[in-house]
C-alpha cells in the first residue's frame, strides 16, 4: 500500500529539474521504482511528488560511438541484456544485466535508478568501474560529467545535487584482446560481494599488459583495486588462469567492511581475496581462450 502523491511526467530534463527544484525535499525522482516503491510502501520515505523521468526523450536509448557506449538512465536491465550495441561493445555488461535480481526487477528497474540509488549491493556500480564509467548529470545550472568513482560516495549517497538528474552512463569498451569476468557471491537476495576483473594480455598473449579490478558490496562503496592492478602488470596469464594470482592486498585489507546479516567483516575481507583470485582466473582463462569449469556455489559467474 502506498500513500498518496502527485506524479509528474516531464518530457525534458529541464522540466524535470525545475520540478525537483520547485518541490525540494518533497520530490523524488522516479523511474523503475524497484527500490523507491519498496521504501514508500514501508513508509520510510514519503515523497509528495514523484518526478517520473521515463518520458524524457533520449533517456531510454543505448548509443554506441567511438569505442564507447552510452546507456540512458531509464534503460531497463532487461533492455541492456538484449541490446545489440551492449552485446557488441560490452558483452560482459549484457551478461551481468541478465543476473540482476530477478526477471521482474530487470524488466522494471533501470540502469540510472540503480546507480543513483547507490544501494551498496548494486552489481552495476561495481561492474561499471572496469569500464571507466562516467556519469552524465544535468541540472538547471548546467551539465557535468564525472567518473563513477566520484559519483558513488557511500551507501545510498551520491554526488548528485538537488535538481540534478543522472541522464546517462558512458562505458568505454575494452581494448582488443581484453577479457573480463564478473563474479558475485552470496546467499541472500542481494549479493554479499561482487568482483569485476578485466585483463588485457600483451601481443603474445602471455603476460598481462593491463588489469582492472573492482570490488563491491562489502565496503561503503565499490572500489577499484589500483595498486593490485599495477602489480598484476606483467603477470603470466597462465598463472592467473590456474587460479594462482597473488591477491594479498592492502587495498582489500583496508576496505571498511561491516559485520551484518551478510556476514562478519573478517569473512567478507577473506572472500574479497578469494573472489578476486577467482575473477582473475576466469578472466585469464578467457583471455587465453581456455575452457574451464568456473562453477562456484552461491556464485554467479558472468
Amino acid at each position: 500500500m502506498l500513500r498518496p502523491f502527485a506524479l509528474y511526467r516531464p518530457s525534458t530534463l529541464a522540466e524535470a529539474s525545475a520540478l525537483l527544484r520547485e518541490h525540494g525535499e518533497d520530490a523524488t525522482l522516479y523511474a523503475g521504482g524497484t527500490e523507491l516503491l519498496l521504501l514508500m510502501k514501508e513508509g520510510l520515505v514519503r515523497p509528495h511528488v514523484l518526478v517520473d523521468v521515463k518520458h524524457v526523450a533520449g533517456l531510454g536509448e543505448v548509443v554506441a560511438a567511438d569505442g564507447a557506449i552510452r546507456i540512458g538512465a531509464t534503460v531497463s536491465h532487461r533492455t541492456v541484456e538484449r541490446s545489440a550495441a551492449v552485446q557488441a561493445h560490452c558483452p560482459l555488461v549484457a551478461g551481468v544485466a541478465r543476473h540482476v535480481a530477478n526477471a521482474r526487477v530487470r524488466a522494471a528497474g533501470t540502469v540510472g535508478g540503480n546507480l543513483a540509488f547507490a544501494d551498496p549491493h548494486s552489481d552495476l556500480a561495481t561492474l561499471f568501474l572496469v569500464f571507466e564509467a562516467r556519469i552524465d548529470l544535468r541540472g538547471l545550472d548546467g551539465e557535468r560529467e564525472i567518473p563513477l568513482d566520484a559519483f558513488v560516495l557511500g551507501p545510498y549517497e551520491t554526488a548528485r545535487r538537488g535538481d540534478e538528474i543522472l541522464s546517462a552512463v558512458r562505458l568505454r569498451s575494452w581494448p582488443v584482446g581484453a577479457a573480463g569476468a564478473y563474479l558475485k557471491f552470496g546467499l541472500y537476495e542481494r549479493p554479499t560481494l561482487g568482483v569485476a576483473a578485466v585483463l588485457v594480455p600483451d601481443a603474445e598473449g602471455r603476460r598481462v599488459s593491463e588489469a582492472r579490478l573492482a570490488i563491491g558490496c562489502i565496503g561503503p562503496r565499490p572500489l577499484r583495486l589500483r595498486a593490485l592492478e599495477r602489480r598484476l602488470r606483467g603477470a603470466p596469464v597462465e598463472e592467473l588462469a590456474a587460479g594462482r594470482a597473488d591477491v594479498a592486498s592492502a587495498e582489500i585489507d583496508r576496505i571498511d567492511a561491516v559485520t551484518d546479516l551478510h556476514g562478519s567483516a573478517d569473512y567478507k575481507l577473506e572472500m574479497a581475496q578469494v573472489f578476486t583470485r577467482r575473477a582473475l582466473r576466469v578472466a585469464a582463462a578467457r583471455a587465453a581462450h581456455h575452457v574451464i569449469d568456473a562453477r562456484y556455489p552461491y556464485t554467479v559467474v558472468v
Binding site: 500513500r3 498518496p4 557471491f185 541472500y188 569473512y267 572472500m271 578469494v274 552461491y298 556464485t299
Partner: protein, 761 residues
C-alpha cells in the same frame, strides 16, 4: 478389501481436485474473499521486545476519515481476551505489557487499507522499556527477567493437564521420561560420548500470510473465514473467549496457501472476530509476510545428548536434555517439547533412556508447530552423535544403525503402538540408492540419518459421505487443503470404496457448521485418520446399498459387490440411482454414511497411543567449497515407509517439498535477533530455498508394505522426510571434512570458520 485385489483409484496419481482451479487462477483463499460492507483491519505492533505500556493515545487515529474503530485491550473487557492451546497466556492485544517485538498492541478498522495505515501512524503509545530475554541462555540465567509473571490458565489438551511451569523462572513446562535403569546404565558402556547442539529459529514462510475474515449476525452468530489448519480448535477458542455456544460459531476454511504447522490453533481469528463485533461490520485482517514472522516460528532448541554403547555398536543408554525456546507465548510449545523429546532416541532399541526437556519463554515471536513438531530439533543432535559413535568405534554408520533398529511389531515404549513399519528395509533402500558401499569421489562425502515420529493421540476424525440420487457422492470432512492434497486423497478413498469414478466425488469445504469434527490437519494424520473415517463412512453407504440391493436382487449380501456404480451379483446388476429410488419410493432421497475414528486414551506416556509411526531415512552426498565454506548437496535420497501410497505423485511432491524445506533450515534459514529486535523478517534478508538450490539429483522413494493403520494399509507422510535432512547433511560433511558441525544453518561463513579452525594435518 480382499488382499491382492487391484485398486481402481487408490494407488493412482489422479489429478488433484483443485489443480485446474489453481492453474487458472480460480482457486480462492481467505484474502480473495469479501463480504458486503466489509472493513479492513490493521495492527499496530510493539517495536520493543519487552515494555510496559503506560498509555495509548488513540484520539488522533480515531479522527482519521474512514476509520470505524481504533481498539486497544481496554476495549476488550467484554470478552475473555486470552487464548492459547496449551496455556491461555496470549492476549488479543497486549494488556499492560508487550512481550515481544511485533506483538499487536492496538488495532484499527477502516474503510480501506489506506485509512487504516494512516490511523496506525497516529496512534501514540508510551512505552517503558523493560529488560528483555531473547535467547535460551538469557532466559535461563539466574535472576533473568521474567516474560510472564502471572500463572497462566491451562488450555485444552489432555496430555497437558499436568503442565509444569516452574514458578519464578521462564520455564513454562517440563517433560521427563525414563526407561530401563536410566542414567545408571552409562557405567556399563564401553563408549560414552556427549555433545551439545543448537537448532535455529526458522520461519514457515507459507506463501500465503495469515488472514481471517469475521462477521457477526443475529441468526448464526459468528462466522469466520480463516486460514487455519484446525477450524475446530479455533471454534473452541472463540467460544470460550466470546462466551458463545459452539453451535453459534462457524469457522469456514477455504484453500490455504501453505500451512506447515504455522496455521495451527488460533492466530488472527480472535482479534478479527473482536474487531468485527466492535465495528458491527464484517472485518478482514490480512497480515503481511513480514508480520507472519511476528506471528509464529519454529522453536529453536539447545540439546545435550549423551550416548552409551557397547564395543560392538549396540546402544545401551541415551540421555537427552533439551531446552526449547517457545518465545513470548506458549502456543502449542509445551506439547512440541514433549512430543519432540519423546522420540529423541529415534527408531532404535535402547534399553536405558533418560529424557528431560523444558519449554522456555523468551521475548521473541511465539514458537509454534512447524513440520516435524519438535522432532527435527532432536534428530539433528541424536543422529549426528550416532555417527560420531560409529567413528569412535570404527563401525560403519549404516551398520551401526541397522543393528539397533526396532523391528516391525516391536514395542517402542510400553503402552504405545508397536512399531508398524520396516526401518531396516527403508535404511537398505536409502543406502543402496546413495551407493553407500561404493567409495565416493574424493571431494564428496556421504551421510545418512533416520527418524521416527509419533503422530497424535488421543485423536478424533469424523466424516460423512452422502450418496446422491444420481449415484454421485459428496465427502464432508474438515480436513484442510493446504497444498498437501488431502482432499484428493479423501476423494480417492471414497471413490474406491463406492466403486465410482473420482469425477463423481466432491469434497466439501471445511465448515464447522456443515462438515463434522476433525481434531486437526497436522501431524501427518489426515490420510490415516480422516482417510479411515471417510473409508468407514463410504463403507457404511456400501452396507446400506447392499442391504437395499439384497431385497431386489434376491441374493445374500455376502455375494454382492460394488462395481462401477452398480451393485452386482450373479443374478444381475443394479445402478445406484435405481437402488435409491427403490429405497425411498421416489427420486431425491440420499444415503448418508458415517465414519468416526477415535482411538482414545491409552497408557502411553503422552496420554494416547500414536495411530502410526512416521518413519523416514535420508541420505545425502555433499561437497564443500573449502575457500568459501559453501556446502552443496549433490544428491539426496529420501525413503519414507508409508504403508501404501494412495496418490503416488502427491506423496512424491510432499517429500520433495519436505526435503527442500529441510535443506532450508540446514543450509540457509535463520531468524536473526539483535537484542530483541528481529532483523530479517522479510525475503530480502531471510533466505528460503530457491529453484537453484535443488540438489542436482533428488529422489524420494517409498517403502510400501500395506502395513499402515490407515485406509488400504496407508500411513502418514509429509513431515518425516524433512527431519533427517540436517543430520544426513551434517554427517556427510563430517565424513568429508573431519569437522563436526553442531549449529545450524550451515551457512558458508559458519562452515568456513570451522574448516579454518581445523587442526592442520
Amino acid at each position: 478389501m480382499t488382499p491382492g485385489r487391484a485398486f481402481r483409484v487408490v494407488g493412482q496419481s489422479v489429478r488433484r481436485l483443485d489443480a485446474i482451479d489453481k492453474v487458472t487462477g480460480r482457486a480462492r483463499y481467505v484474502t480473495d474473499l469479501t463480504q458486503p460492507g466489509m472493513l479492513h483491519a490493521a495492527l499496530l505492533r510493539s517495536p520493543h521486545a519487552h515494555a510496559r505500556i503506560r498509555t495509548i493515545d488513540v484520539a488522533a487515529a480515531r479522527a482519521v476519515r474512514g476509520v470505524h474503530a481504533v481498539v486497544t485491550s481496554a476495549d476488550l473487557t467484554w470478552c475473555d481476551p486470552y487464548f492459547g492451546p496449551a496455556f491461555r497466556d496470549r492476549p488479543i492485544l497486549a494488556i499492560g505489557v508487550a512481550r515481544y517485538e511485533g506483538e499487536p498492541v492496538a488495532a484499527v478498522v477502516a474503510e480501506d487499507e489506506g485509512a487504516a495505515a494512516e490511523a496506525l501512524d497516529r496512534i501514540i503509545v508510551d512505552y517503558e522499556p523493560l529488560s528483555a530475554v531473547t535467547t535460551l541462555e538469557e532466559a535461563l540465567a539466574p535472576g533473568a527477567s521474567l516474560v510472564h509473571t502471572d500463572a497462566p490458565l491451562a488450555g485444552h489438551f489432555a496430555d497437558l493437564s499436568t503442565l509444569k511451569p516452574v514458578r519464578g523462572t521462564n520455564v513454562c513446562h517440563q517433560f521427563h521420561l525414563e526407561r530401563g535403569r536410566g542414567a545408571a546404565a552409562f557405567a556399563e558402556a564401553d563408549l560414552a560420548l556427549e555433545d551439545c547442539y543448537y537448532f535455529p529459529r526458522v520461519q514457515h514462510y507459507s506463501m500465503e500470510p495469515h488472514a481471517a475474515l469475521a462477521a457477526w449476525d443475529e441468526e448464526s452468530g459468528l462466522t469466520v473465514w480463516a486460514s487455519t489448519q484446525n477450524p475446530y480448535s479455533v471454534r473452541v477458542e472463540l467460544a470460550k473467549m466470546f462466551r458463545v455456544p459452539l453451535s453459534r460459531i462457524r469457522v469456514i476454511v477455504p484453500l490455504l496457501g501453505g500451512g506447515f504447522g504455522g496455521k495451527t490453533y488460533a492466530k488472527l481469528e480472535p482479534i478479527t472476530s473482536a474487531l468485527a463485533r466492535l465495528a458491527g461490520r464484517p472485518v478482514r485482517l490480512a497480515i503481511s509476510a513480514q508480520d507472519a514472522f511476528r506471528t509464529v516460528r519454529r522453536c529453536d532448541a539447545r540439546v545435550r545428548v549423551r550416548l552409551g554403547l557397547r564395543r560392538d555398536g549396540r546402544l545401551l543408554a541415551a540421555e537427552c536434555v533439551a531446552d526449547f525456546d517457545v518465545g513470548a507465548y506458549a502456543d502449542i510449545g509445551p506439547r512440541i517439547v514433549q512430543k519432540g523429546t519423546y522420540t529423541a532416541t529415534g527408531p532404535y532399541r535402547i534399553p536405558n533412556v533418560v529424557l528431560h526437556s523444558r519449554a522456555v519463554y523468551t521475548n521473541t515471536t511465539p514458537g509454534g508447530a512447524f513440520r516435524g513438531f519438535g522432532v527435527p530439533q532432536l534428530a539433528w543432535p541424536f543422529e549426528s552423535l550416532l555417527d560420531d559413535a560409529a567413528r569412535r568405534l570404527d563401525l560403519d554408520p549404516v551398520e551401526l544403525r541397522r543393528q539397533n533398529l526396532l523391528a516391525h511389531g516391536e514395542e517402542f515404549e510400553p503402552g504405545d503402538t508397536p512399531v508398524d513399519g520396516k526401518f531396516e528395509e527403508s535404511l537398505s533402500r536409502a543406502a543402496e540408492a546413495i551407493r553407500w558401499t561404493q567409495a565416493a569421489a574424493s571431494d564428496r562425502g556421504r551421510g545418512v540419518a533416520m527418524m521416527m515420529k509419533a503422530s497424535i493421540g488421543p485423536t478424533v476424525s469424523e466424516a460423512i459421505v452422502r450418496l446422491h440420487a444420481d449415484g454421485s457422492a459428496t465427502v464432508l470432512a474438515s480436513t484442510v487443503e493446504m497444498g498437501q492434497g488431502a482432499r484428493t486423497v479423501l476423494a480417492q478413498i471414497a471413490a474406491e470404496v463406492l466403486a465410482i469414478s473420482i469425477e463423481r466425488v466432491s469434497v466439501a469445504t471445511p465448515d464447522t457448521a456443515m462438515t463434522p469434527y476433525d481434531q486437526t490437519t497436522s501431524s501427518s494424520r489426515s490420510t490415516t485418520l480422516m482417510g479411515r473415517a471417510v473409508q468407514e463412512a463410504a463403507e457404511d453407504i456400501r452396507e446400506q446399498l447392499l442391504r437395499i440391493a439384497g431385497e431386489i436382487i434376491d441374493a445374500p449380501p455376502a455375494e454382492l459387490v460394488l462395481d462401477d456404480g452398480h451393485v452386482v451379483a450373479r443374478g444381475g446388476r443394479v445402478a445406484y440411482p435405481a437402488l435409491l429410488t427403490e429405497r425411498f419410493g421416489m427420486g431425491g432421497g440420499e444415503l448418508i454414511g458415517r465414519g468416526i475414528v477415535a482411538p482414545g486414551r491409552s497408557r502411553a506416556p503422552l496420554g494416547g497411543s500414536t495411530p502410526f509411526w512416521e518413519m523416514a531415512v535420508g541420505a545425502a552426498e555433499v561437497h564443500v567449497d573449502e575457500e568459501t565454506g559453501a556446502v552443496v548437496v549433490d544428491d539426496y535420497v529420501s525413503v519414507a515407509d508409508i504403508g501404501r501410497r494412495i496418490n503416488p505423485q502427491q506423496c512424491e511432491g510432499q517429500d520433495e517439498g519436505a526435503v527442500m524445506q529441510g535443506l532450508g533450515h540446514t543450509l540457509l534459514e535463520e531468524m536473526v535477533y539483535d537484542g530483541g529486535q528481529l532483523l530479517n523478517a522479510n525475503l530480502v534478508d531471510y533466505r528460503v530455498p530457491r529453484a537453484e538450490d535443488l540438489p542436482s539429483r533428488i529422489r524420494c522413494l517409498f517403502v510400501e508394505n500395506g502395513d499402515g493403520a490407515g485406509p488400504f494399509g496407508a500411513k502418514g507422510a509429509g513431515e518425516g522426510s524433512l527431519i533427517p535432512v540436517s543430520p544426513a547433511v551434517g554427517n556427510a560433511l563430517a565424513r568429508l571434512t573431519g569437522v563436526r558441525f553442531r549449529e545450524l544453518p550451515l551457512t558458508p561463513e559458519r562452515v568456513w570458520r570451522a574448516l579454518r579452525a581445523r587442526p592442520k594435518p
